[in-house]
Amino acid sequence: MELLLIEDDAMLGQAVELGLSERQFVVQWVRTGAAAISELNRQPYDVAVLDLGLPDLDGSRVLASLRKKGQPLPVLILTARDDSREVVKLLDLGADDYMVKPFDMNELAARLRALVRRQRGYASQQLQVGPLTLDDINHQVRVHNQDITLSRREFELLKALMAAPDRVHSRDKLENLVFCNEQQVESNALEVHVHNLRKKLGNKEWIQTIRGVGYRLACN
């Protein structure tokens, strides 16, 4: 996988270049925004890591220029600032992911691989957790390769749980997702859907209730 690293700090650039090279990335490292833009014009890359605080151009300008030319490569932003509005702005500008410094090298590599995979269409819109497979495009759910039929809300619920398995999802977040911020939702409506979903999945252990907090998928 060819990766363009845009990072002005010498020490960090060197470390990331080395670390990613050891993790099956072919890394080209540039230290200015101008160099990044000309490098991207010169040859196609699979993915880019972009630091925001560059000496010549602001990272967001590089990103904007890239997207303006219609270059589709996934971009992961590295930021040292903690302004959440800035992050939202960048995601709106077309960034695919971001990490706040200092980051974990393994996590960075994993996220980059996921970005490339998504870009190439592998496992596109398909989620798999243990015996469960969810296809977002065809609205299909399989348990041990057996198709099951879910209502729209049950499907959304399962999708949310499968998107981040092993994580606890607060009931408020799930309610918002499943009921799309509808007003006047019955207080036990979510419980009813979870109950039905458990029945259809055939194993009640798979969706754990964290009392007073929310739910978690545990079927690995």
């Binding site: 700090d9 020490m11 960090l12 060197q14 470390a15 990331v16 080395l18 670390g19 050891e22 605080g53 590295l78 040292a80 600032r81 903690d82 302004d83 959440s84 706040v100 410094k101 200092p102 980051f103 974990d104 090298m105 393994n106 092993d166 994580r167 606890v168 999802h169 607060s170 009931r171 408020d172 977040k173 207080s187 964290i210 009392r211 007073g212 907090v213 929310g214 978690r216």
Partner: protein, 451 residues
Amino acid sequence: MQLIRRFQRKLHSIRRRILIAVSLVYLLSSAVSAVWIHQEISHEVDELFDAEMVQQAKTLLALVSIVEQLPAQQLTIDPLNAHSYEGKLSYRIEQHDGNVVMQTRGSMDLSRIDFREGFSIQQIGQEVWHTFGVSSADQRYRILLLQEDEFRAEIRTDLTTDTVIPVLTLLPLMLWLGWWTINRNFASFTRLANALRRKRSTDYQPFTEANDPEEVALVKRALNHYLHRIEQSFLRERRFSADAAHELRTPLASLKAQLQNLIRRADNDEQKQQLNGLLTSTERLVKLVESLLLLARTEMPPEPMQALNVASIARQVMADYYHKLEAKGLQYQVQLPQRLEWLSDEAYLSMLLTNLIDNAVKYAPPGSIIEVSVQQGELLISNEVDGVHQIDTERLTERFYRGQQLDVDGSGLGLSIVKQLAQQLQLTIRFERHQQRFIARLHFDTDQQTL
């Protein structure tokens, strides 16, 4: 004494001072004009009546001249009793040697008044008389016309009073009108004060100066200038905090990445162990820097507050922390309502609750229970504590205070951050130890919020 102090306090109002000053000027000018009018009237009245005395004298002279010989014995003319002022007007005709031949009878013996040529004023006892004396052309007779001053004085007083009374009657009306006008003009200041009170602490928008009286505009300009300076220093501080974040995090990121690279490449376990020790220290440093940055960042007031479902935010924080809880064998015991609405800021409140839960998870003994509940409007987060270590609840929120459990991984900044965030969100936070539990109580003061 108290009355004087109260009066002095009342005088601390510009409006009252203006009103009192204007009233005093009004009264003083009324007094001056009254005196002046009195003078003028006296002069005119004297002129008029003196002229009349001359006219009467001429009439009497004419009568005397056509009479050949006036009787030698004194002739007294009785009052006609036609008018009450009759007694105040008299005349006397005498021969050249002072032998009175004719005089009006009045209340007073006229012989006490001397004959003086021309106009003169004579005081006899309590009374003051204006006299006009004239001799006939053949020098045989002398005529003296007399007017008591009281007669003139009454006209003077009456006319003066008539001009002063309306001025004084109008005083209450003038006071009321003055008070109304002053209040109306000072309303601009009251409006400005209200606008200033409503302004949020992060709102540096200048006040608009349209249609303001000069004085209010002056204050507004000064305020706008001040707001601008505050905004500049606010921006400077925020920029510093952002720059510091950047400058600290980049080398730390580099340090961490290089260590991870080294660990990956380490040849033997011993080397790996040492490097892992370095990585742990680095991660502690990262946490400390993050805490310090958070502390610096949350010194800024939050975004405008909104009504938020605190219970929902608490559940989200608990969900995000569940893996740490599970790793330590802890459990939640939750008693939260579906909704608990506070006026707050989501980012700040979320950070506050995260720090409280983090603290609870850190200090709870493995296998114990962390309670999160709402009791009488207060949000409670509590964890079990061992009985060995003392907790100094007074010092908990001091920066870098770590109590006695030094083996627990922490920077001693968590509860300082909590305290600061609580202040920014206008929440009251109390820590207490109740038997085997350490309890953090977060209280939302409704009265404070409605201000």
